[in-house]
Subunit: 168 residues, 2 copies
Amino acid sequence: MRDPASPTQASLVLENFLPYRLAVLAHKTSRALSAVYGERFGLSIPEWRVLANLGHAGPLYAGELAERSSMDKPKVTRALQRLETGGLVQRAVDAQDRRQVRLTLTRRGRGLFRDIAVLALEWEAQFLSPLSEAERKTLDRALTKLMQRGEDRPRSANARAARHAEAL
Amino acid sequence: MRDPASPTQASLVLENFLPYRLAVLAHKTSRALSAVYGERFGLSIPEWRVLANLGHAGPLYAGELAERSSMDKPKVTRALQRLETGGLVQRAVDAQDRRQVRLTLTRRGRGLFRDIAVLALEWEAQFLSPLSEAERKTLDRALTKLMQRGEDRPRSANARAARHAEAL
């Protein structure tokens, strides 16, 4: 991150720029974690994200799933199709509103989610091991603050940019 | 992040799981930043990433660009096409190896990169403002450590998962 004393300096060094750092680290982290479930269970990253979100917070509507999994709808749709074909996800018509379809894990899907969860938590503990306890706590607090900041910011300022914004 | 004292606990709460937190925050950050350049300059997120990487580290081969921008090749290719059509990016045949093509910004592309860089740095300073100086430093150090960790980990353990891994 830059020296805040020089806000007019216009040189953008990507390696120091927080959005770039976050994007690179999130991408690497997703990829490293995918080695854990990809090898053993044959899931892609989008498939794991859908499985994890349904396992953790399902049943969900497709739109909620896209929002929660930080992916665009076509990617979610493709992942859902593969998971449905594999017997891991099923659709349920909403009792209140029959035009709405909610997505949920099958019994087999829930079992797979639990199996991967164990490995994922082990992986996370290992991944965080270079950080001291104090660093972890500060990282946690900083991420929480920045996450809230993201939510505070008015999105409507730029509806067009929001539509453009793909799930990266 | 979880209580490290209970590593056998298999309940995966996504909101506490670092890869999920990073993915969500990176996504929100990209989207919030895109409001800055999207409204004013009409760029999408992938287009900005290509512009920024070429502006910062170009000329680059297409493969390097995909790696650096944490995006998959089709997304990079589409962004490049739009930027080339807009006169912001050009291709240059490598003098050493004429089969290789390197990508570089045009004069207009460099100007646009500089204009957006000023706004992006202002945006970053604002975005980080809820964090204390100490929190920023720790965040910075923690991200650096985790980023290095990503690089240390053997990728080859699972070539198949790596091929599956899309730019998320």
